[in-house]
């Protein structure tokens, strides 16, 4: 059954949402099917593109806007590659609990950011981007790559990893430069 094996995957990505992180004992690599892996990859990219578009319309900080532009450019490019690969392999992305967890986390983050302006918005957006990219990196390493069977799909995930790591580093640097909110 997938239920137990998906729980680790869900909790890894749920770490990027308002849900508290939880300690998990070491587990066997989760058993997502390749169509489910493809769906998670496309979902993860789409979420960050949408968050970046919202940020572009809301932020007045040039560096945050540049970061958001890079998120749109990069995640769109990766999704194009993923879609082309899925078509070539005859894989139809399949919805799954990990994708749904990502989407609910994104909706929660959007609700939290919606009424924020100025520095408060920038900090919230960048906090979210740091947590999100860390969670995606963890999911690539501990869930997606280990569970993928198709060699080309696995290679795509491995090729994407450096970009996610660079996004995380960029987000961390930018977040640090924004300082702490005064309460």
């Amino acid at each position: 059954m997938h239920r137990r094996s998906l729980s680790l995957a869900v909790l890894l990505v749920a770490g990027a949402t308002a849900l508290p992180a939880q300690q998990q004992p070491a587990q066997q690599p989760p058993d997502l099917t390749d169509p489910e892996v493809a769906h998670v990859a496309v979902t993860a990219n789409t979420i960050d593109v949408e968050a970046a578009r919202f940020a572009q319309g809301r932020t007045t900080n040039a560096q945050v806007r540049q970061f958001a532009r890079t998120m749109i450019t990069d995640h769109t490019a990766v999704n194009q590659q993923a879609a082309a690969l899925a078509q070539r392999l005859g894989v139809t992305p399949a919805d799954n609990a990990v994708s749904r967890s990502l989407q609910s986390g994104a909706a929660e983050a959007h609700r939290a950011q919606q009424n924020l302006r100025g520095d408060a918005f920038d900090r919230a957006y960048m906090d979210r981007e740091v947590a999100y990219h860390q969670a995606v990196l963890d999911a690539i390493d501990h869930v997606l790559v280990p569970t993928t069977e198709n060699a080309d799909l696995k290679q795509l995930l491995q090729d994407v990893r450096p970009a996610i790591a660079a996004h995380l580093a960029h987000a961390q640097q930018l977040r640090a430069s924004l300082g702490n909110a005064t309460r």
Binding site: R69, T70, T73, D74, A77, V78, Q81, L156, D159, V160, P162, A163, A165, A166, A169, H170, Q173
Partner: protein, 109 residues
């Protein structure tokens, strides 16, 4: 003026000067490649001569640039490339406009 070589061959001075000048011709310009892979410029530091051509080739899934005050490749998609003829003022650092953690250096000789 005539110069007599040890072999007995005689060279007129202008010919001797031309021979010596040929030994000090500037090297032909070279083309050097910087591969962009794993969100890094490889090699990170490139030693080139003024007049050499640097070619940046993007092997990554995501687009990149090589941008400095004196040159800008523009956005390079996957498998895209751009070239630039190096001048002495290009010595120094450059970076990707999309990924500020990506940095390279040109050492111009």
């Amino acid at each position: 003026m005539t110069v007599i070589l040890r072999s007995g061959r005689r060279l007129l001075a202008p010919a001797l000067l031309a021979l010596l000048a040929g030994c000090h011709r500037a090297p032909a310009p070279r083309t050097r490649t910087v591969d962009i892979t794993g969100l890094a410029f490889r090699p990170e530091t490139l030693r080139v001569g003024a007049g050499d051509t640097v070619v940046w080739v993007n092997h990554d899934l995501v687009p990149h640039t090589a941008t400095a005050p004196g040159f800008d490749t523009g956005s390079l998609a996957r498998d895209g490339s751009a070239r630039h003829v190096v001048t002495p003022s290009d010595a120094g650092g450059y970076q990707c406009a999309f990924h500020p953690t990506m940095r390279g250096v040109l050492l111009v000789e």
